[in-house]
């Protein structure tokens, strides 16, 4: 073909320009793009894992007492965030999500914050383990955000540090034998 560009030139008459349209507020990042943080405070149990894993320290927590519990306000500072997605990955309750929204442009940097207040109910009793049913698998120990539980499988020991425990209840959900619960330690329950 002598003029290979002719075909392209002819098609370009009807084609749209390759330049992206602007502004396009509905556009989203593709694939696994990690953008603006979305926080669902009603799902949060205030385990504090997100704050621990956040490398730039972009997540702050503010506690105010309320009737029958406490109000915990979490602030995700997007001008400090490095969008690594660790908080989302470590959140046990799926209350943090990095959306594909990349339109994070503000004149006032205060607006570049995601906030949410979750109500954390006061729980009576402590985490206890039913001795008979426990298989000492150690899942509760591995998933505890405060490292309060110690499981020694060979010696069949299950221990918890009640002073450090924040009663997030993640261990109860993770237990495959459902032997963990809130209660008071007695002959059949250790805690």
């Amino acid at each position: 073909m002598m003029f290979p560009f002719l075909k392209k030139a002819a098609s370009n008459i009807v084609n749209k320009p390759s330049t992206e349209a602007f502004p396009n507020p509905a556009a989203k990042g593709l694939g696994n793009y990690r953008g603006r943080i979305e926080f669902y405070p009603e799902k949060c149990v205030d385990c504090g894992m997100c704050i621990k894993v956040c490398s730039p320290g972009a997540i702050t927590r503010e506690e105010t007492p309320a009737e029958g519990g406490k109000n915990v306000k979490r602030t995700f500072d997007l001008t400090s965030c490095t969008f690594c997605g660790m908080c989302e990955e470590f959140c046990d309750d799926c209350s943090i999500k990095l959306s594909q929204d990349y339109h994070m442009v503000e004149e006032d940097a205060e607006k570049l914050c995601t906030t949410g207040t979750s109500f954390i109910k006061d729980i009576e009793g402590e985490i206890v383990c039913e001795i008979g049913g426990c298989i000492f698998c150690g899942l509760c120990m591995r998933n505890c955000p405060q490292q309060t539980i110690n499981v020694d499988r060979p010696n069949k020991v299950w221990e918890i540090d009640h002073e450090k425990c924040i009663k997030c209840g993640i261990c109860i959900g993770k237990c495959p034998k459902k032997v963990l619960s809130y209660g008071e330690p007695d002959e059949t329950h250790i805690g």
Binding site: S18, T19, E20, F22, P23, N24, A27, G29, Y33, G35, S55, P56, G57, A58, D77, L78, T79, S80, C81, T82, F83, Y102, H103, M104, V105, E106, E107, A109, L112
Partner: protein, 148 residues
């Protein structure tokens, strides 16, 4: 009248000056991508200027290292008024993961008022475009105020 014409034309073509104050290069390549035909910031009149004395909009990336601090302050002082400062990425606003390091002298707000901040690490070129466009609008207002 000549002055009026100058200011009107300058409004339509804000020139950019890019300062890298210790950035990892992520935001810098996205800013360059912004000027390519795919995103084409030049359709709004943006153009990279070679010297801060020609610039209207200053784009800062990076967490402001102690080595680059003096240069940053000096360069910002050379930009004629009215100017507009745009911060790209998390670093200039807060220091990002380098926050608290012995060699970081940020945030940028300590040295100059930041007009527009673009969040992201790194922001997409589309987001940078939005930031630049917003900066151009602010610049327009500043010019109008100065003209009166």
């Amino acid at each position: 009248m000549f002055r009026k014409l100058m200011s009107k034309s300058a409004m339509k073509s804000p020139w950019l000056y890019h300062i890298n104050s210790g950035s990892c290069n992520g935001c810098d390549i996205e800013l360059v991508a912004c000027l390519t035909p795919r995103y084409d910031a030049e359709r709004f009149g943006f153009k990279l200027a070679g010297t801060p004395r020609h610039a209207d909009i200053v784009v800062v990336s990076g967490p402001i290292t102690s080595q680059s601090k003096d240069r940053l302050v000096r360069t910002l002082a050379q930009v004629p008024e009215p100017k507009c400062v745009v911060s790209i990425g998390s670093c200039p606003r807060s220091g990002n993961v380098f926050k608290g390091s012995y060699s970081i002298e940020g945030p940028l707000e300590k040295y100059v008022h930041v007009d527009v901040s673009v969040a992201g690490c790194t922001p997409k070129p589309e987001a940078i475009m939005e930031g630049l466009y917003q900066a151009a609008q602010i610049l327009k207002k500043k010019r109008e105020v100065m003209g009166k």
